[in-house]
């Protein structure tokens, strides 16, 4: 294999598998219960519908 092909192959694997490793690591560091802008809020203690609207 030529050097440029070898570099592209390593780059290909590093990008795709590297991004997967990064995404998996990130997901493993987060807990579903307190993710996002809702934070620790309990959905059952929030109004079920913040602003019910009529059909448009």
């Amino acid at each position: 294999m030529s050097t440029s092909t070898l570099i592209v192959m390593v780059l290909y694997l590093a990008v795709v598998w590297g991004l997967l490793a990064l995404a998996t690591w990130h997901l493993s560091k987060t807990a579903d219960k307190n993710c996002g802008t809702l934070g620790d809020q309990d959905l059952d203690d929030m109004p079920q519908y913040a602003q019910p609207v009529a059909q448009r």
Binding site: M1, S2, S4, T5, L6, V8, M9, L11, Y12, L13, V15, V16, W17, L19, L20, A23, T24, H26, L27, T30, D32, K33, C35, G36, T37, L38, Q41, L43, D44, D45, M46, P47, Q48, Y49, A50, Q51, P52, V53, A54, Q55, R56
Partner: protein, 549 residues
């Protein structure tokens, strides 16, 4: 009773079960037999750039769109679209119709793969795998409109596959789809890793990899290469036709949607890059063995799996074991995908007709198995499959993906609301780039693809098949698909089904665009779920779904 209104919608046991089910769905036959050729044919190593850009700008965003629709509106595809707006239910039924058609022919390929796994033991395809596949195995007839000459060995194995699938579907989400994927996806990955490592040690493997990864940088200036990258991402991820949406409807209410989307999308790509290495290392061996360039032996799809690979296995040390690994992987990858494909239909029938899980699963599997057993294990089966696959992709998947994105984004203006929902429960926050990707970039790519593909079908036909056959199994099938979807959308929902807006609260995010009203089914929509339970004495069960424990 239907899970939509009895308060018993099933949920996945946990995050990992969902991930395995989603990966099992995304990783299918296309990863193994389509990606390697598409990548090779569109710039080799240089294809990495359009491919990764397509994944990040369209693949993952549309996957997250599927997830948020299923998660927010918690239902089968037709129920999700009905809850979005009374005018959009038919979109969901088209998605159900597409998965129904795919299930009908996809299962046949699994039957072939199962039979070839067994044939690998004795290399039953003899010295001429092409003649064996087309003549001895399929008795292929590409001329007739439809044959009634059954190939009984295929019909019997196909029936067994349908029976196995029915058994899995009756078990429900946790024990069926979730349990199956949690066992078979790791097995698939291990089998495929063994296959790839074996392929890398074959004589000529380096030549194959050289052909696969050699970058042709000039191809990056070719728009067709970019279209191929977006096309591969769409077909491969199984997005925008109900599968991922249905799966997300079984997620717990607090689920990290964007985090899950990134992991599932990238897992799919990681697997297909691995498949590319395995396939091209093997093709390199074939080329070296025949003393020809790799270019002369490259193929894709059914030809790659059932003709090229048996040819390679014939001349390979330890060929039978390699064959078992390859066709076994193909079968498992296909079966885990098929379960999630059929789930779209089962879930819709359950919701629309208030049917118990087992009855809906058995009914749907019989409805899919009947045309599958009538039209495909016959001498015209290969040609019929080829035409149906092409038309369902172009007139079904591409068109409905485009329609659903345009309707939700441009027509109903719901993307800001959906983005806010994702951000409410997810660690990776979406910006306006998500709206841009979905409203501008993806429709352009899908629109151009659809127009070019339809023009080509109208102008040139397809693969030289007779116009009558293309009309019956292509255009007529597409017409039946859309008319059936419209008619089903006119059927009333069970009286107790919540049909307007998200059924279990809006997560603090109100309706910001056009569509069905939120909370119209409640007498006091501002009340919290706990207050409602206390007032009505509903106990600890969550409103609208079963316990998440």
């Amino acid at each position: 009773m239907s899970t939509a209104h009895k308060g018993g919608r099933e949920v996945f046991a946990g995050r990992s079960m969902f991930i395995f089910a989603a990966i099992g769905s995304a990783i299918g036959l296309g990863n193994i037999w389509r990606f390697p050729y598409v990548s090779y044919d569109n710039g080799g190593g240089a294809f990495l750039f359009p491919y990764v850009i397509a994944l990040l700008t369209a693949g993952v965003p549309v996957l997250i769109l599927d997830y948020v629709l299923g998660h927010r509106f918690r239902g089968s595809a037709p129920l999700v679209w009905r809850r979005i707006s009374p005018k959009t239910e038919a979109i969901g039924w088209v998605q159900v119709g597409i998965t129904f058609i795919i299930a009908v022919y996809y299962c046949v390929i699994l039957a072939w793969a199962a039979m070839y796994t067994w044939y690998s033991v004795r290399l039953s395809w003899t010295d001429d795998p092409e003649a064996f596949f087309l003549n001895t195995f399929l008795h292929a007839d590409t001329e007739s409109l439809n044959s009634v000459q059954f190939i009984w060995p295929i019909a019997i194995v196909l029936l067994v596959v349908w029976l196995a699938l029915t058994a899995v579907m009756t078990l429900g989400i946790r024990k069926g789809m979730g349990g199956l994927s949690s066992i078979f996806v790791p097995i698939l990955i291990v089998l495929f890793l063994i296959l790839v490592v074996r392929a890398l040690f074959l004589p000529g493997a380096a030549t194959g990899l050289e052909a696969f990864f050699t970058p042709q940088w000039s191809s990056l200036l070719d728009p067709k290469v970019w279209m191929a990258a977006y096309g591969q991402i769409f077909y491969s991820l199984a997005i925008a036709f109900g599968i991922m949406m249905t799966q997300a409807s079984y997620l717990k209410r607090r689920s990290n949607l964007s985090g899950l989307g990134a992991v599932v999308g990238l897992s799919n790509s990681a697997f297909e890059v691995l498949a590319g290495i395995g396939v091209f290392a093997t093709l390199g061996f074939m080329a070296a063995n025949q003393g020809v360039p790799v270019d002369d032996v490259v193929s894709s799809g059914i030809g790659l799996a059932f003709i090229a690979f048996p040819t390679i296995i014939n001349s390979m040390p330890g060929g039978p074991l390699f064959g078992i690994l390859f066709f076994g992987s193909l079968f498992i990858a296909g079966f885990t995908s098929l379960v999630t494909i059929v789930e779209v239909v089962v879930s819709a029938v359950q919701d629309k007709f208030a049917m118990p899980r087992k009855r809906a699963a058995i009914l749907v599997c019989i409805a899919c198995a009947a045309p599958s057993l009538i039209f495909f294990p016959v001498t015209t089966g290969l040609a019929t499959l080829d035409i149906v696959d092409k038309f369902v992709n172009v007139t079904g998947i591409v068109f409905i993906a485009l329609t659903s994105i345009v309707v939700a984004g441009w027509g109903l203006k719901r993307f800001p609301e959906l983005r806010a929902h994702v951000n409410a429960v997810s660690s990776l926050q979406l910006g306006v780039w998500w709206d841009f990707s979905l409203k501008i970039l993806t429709p352009i790519v899908l629109g151009v693809t659809f127009v070019l593909e339809v023009l080509a079908l109208v102008r040139d036909g397809y693969e030289g098949y007779a116009p009558s056959k293309i009309f019956v199994f292509g255009w007529l099938m597409a017409i039946i698909l859309y008319v059936s979807a419209f008619l089903l959308s006119r059927v009333s929902w069970p009286s107790k089904t919540i049909v307007d807006g998200p059924p279990n609260g809006d997560f603090g995010i109100p309706l910001t665009g056009k569509g069905a009203p939120f909370g119209a089914h409640l007498d006091r929509p501002h009340e919290t779920a706990n207050q409602r339970r206390e007032r009505l004495g509903l106990g600890s069960a969550l409103h609208g779904e079963m316990s998440e424990d």
